[in-house]
Amino acid sequence: MAESHKSSFAEFVGSGDEYYSRIFEKIQKSSLEFAHINFAAATGGFAWAAFRANWLLAWFGFAIDLIALVNLAGAYKYSSASARALADGKDFLVDRYDAWAESNLIAAVVFFFGGRFVFGWLADRLYYRRYSAWRIDRRKSSGANASRLAILAAVVVLIAPLTLYRASQFPPEHRTCIKQDRAIQKGEEIPFKNRFDCFAIGEFPTLFWLDRRNEFSFPRNEDGSRRMEVKPPREGLPPISLNTWTAQATDDGIAYLTAFYGWIFDGITAFLRTMLGAVEAVFVGTPWMITAGVFLAIAYKAAGLRIAVFVGLSLVYLALFGFWQTAMDTLSLVVGASIICVVFGLPLGVWVGKSRAGQAIVTPILDIMQTIPSFVYLLPAVAFFSIGKPPGIFATVIFAMPPMVRLTALGIKQVPENTKEAALAFGANPKQLLFKVELPLALPSIMAGVNQVVMMSLSMVVVAALIGAGGMGFIVTEALANTQTGRGILAGIGIALLAMMIDRVVQKAKIAKN
């Protein structure tokens, strides 16, 4: 038994089996000294690991050595820069470069010796794990083989020189490279080093240049309607990059839509404003005593005494620190946005839950909506609806709608197939199936969706202060701009309390209902 064990050690390690058999046995007996280091590995570094088919360790060793070398190249870069600065008489740069060169040098030494030390410590321990994996799957490479060093050399040649070159040079600025590109197009001679630097070690090179687009404008006619005017680009201007071209095209598209289909956006704005007016009449237009009393009553009824006390204390905080009106402003935005989300999200969710086409169409859109950072939604909102509360609500709705759709769809899909079958067997038509069976059974999931919508609306409404939606978020953004830290923090706490109030009440109400 023990012999076969030893022979499998030998079979795995190839050469040096006496040493490794002893070490592996110690590892198995848990008697390996903590300070044990494989000196061959520490000296040979990643070459040792490659030689022993220990690829993970090889990459690790290569990475440490490369980091050490990159720092060394950095030290060279800054010391030569310091010498140049001294020659140019820029004394103020000399000290800075010298300090950087020194810290790079120290880092290089620490990484090299420290890294090799760690490497030597890890070597036998990881080698043993490799052995364990090899016992399970004998196809894994084993033994000691010098031909692996050739593979390693190839990898090193591919990676190391360019990386070290990059570390030892100041990369060219993007703008310099653009100018150089234009000069090349004009037929000027540029030294190879400059061309190579722009291509290899700077920003990703601009591979192609596009002609400028026509210029569009949408002036008004005598009667107030708009017309489109197209002018060719001015002569002599340089070509533009793909980014600039696409951005301009997008701008033109938005300008076109707002010029000719402005009535759609005006209509939506008017709708949002009217709706918000109604909601605000409830929250802002009602005296604080009444609103507070109603909140407390709702909290007590729906969620019990403890939550009601919490809501009461939060309201006291908002009132004492002078956030009452702003908080009610924010709340109106949240309620307005949430209502729209539910009104549109619920049917959409039902469609997604019941129809494959709906799922195929809507799911990718929701994925995109949830991946895009919330700030980005502000841009189209401003482009189409200008600034103020309506675009704020618009952005909020787009941001907060996905969970409503998803959770409604989930709830509908989770209705057991046999329950639906039973309803059909008793003669339910599709409408009855939906309203009497599917929606009631999906209700818990739908309510979870509503809760999510409210929470996400609140977070987005705060961000929407950036485009003039006002409310608590406005205080925070203002504080950020004027470094009024204390004021900002107070408002932040107010927002957090607002969120917790809504969340607690809605959650508790849900549990009580079930």
Partner: protein, 352 residues
Amino acid sequence: MVENEKSLVEARGVWKIFGDRAGEALQAIKSEGLDKAEVLERFEAVIGVRDVSIEVREGEIFCIMGLSGSGKSTLVRHINRLIEPTAGSILIDGIDVGSLDAPALRALRSKKIGMVFQNMALFPHRTVRDNIAFALELRNVDAYTRMQVADGVIEKVSLQGYGDRMPSELSGGMQQRVGLARALAADPDILLMDEPFSALDPLIRRGLQDEFLALSKTMRKTTLFITHDLDEAIRMGSRIAIMKDGAIVQVGTSEEIVTNPADEYVADFVKGISKLKLLFAQTVMVPLKQFESEAGKIGELSSYPKAGPKEDLDRLVSLAIGSKRPVLIVDDGNPVGVVTKDALLRGIQGET
């Protein structure tokens, strides 16, 4: 049992093949006689029901017995067209179910057919009463009438006092009573029972079987009863159809099936069944003449234990115990045959 010979539910050459290429597969099966595996391989299709024709007479309990995957649940779902047949037709009271438009089909489902499911499939968000009145609610019957009807049915299935409970508060057996009540509420002509008692433990199952039989005797609903348990089929069914791989292997009364299994498959099933209640004196007896020619005249009648030709084995065993003489079978006062102990023992083993 008195049976009306008129058939209320009829299946004519019903085929069901699952898969996108069901039509092609059916053609190939009919012309080339493919088996299950070949159909799956060539058309990625699964045969659910294979050329089934049955007739269910008015008022009878027709059992469909088969193991899981034999297509019995699929077949029964054709009757209220929860599943569309690939070929063939279903007639209810002479009307082709396949020809009905959506509203007519819904009316058929809510008025004429009640269904009970193995997993109950109650609506968890509705009270017991609202579950029971579901079919009526779908037909826009007013709430007052619904309550009256539901309470009546609740009494029938002995669930008094549970009308306002939620299904989750009830035990499995009680839930299935709700399932049964829900199927009965609309007073349908036909009951489809898809393994209604399979999920219950044996004692409760037996109790419910008895209750259902009693109910059935008074209500006389035409019932299609699905089960994977031959004992249950024999207890419940006026007639039994045995299914295997989507096709019907044998249809007959329980005695026919036990005494005369159509093939090895059925015989295998029947082997483990107790024949005490299934075989009757007339089946196991030796005719009097034959007996006398072998064993001589029987002599004085009064010294024999006597039984009628319709008595079952269980009864004959009781008579035979403690008697040295064979049991004499007497029809209308005349001796017609003799059941010896050997014949009795053979009968218990299922040989006649």
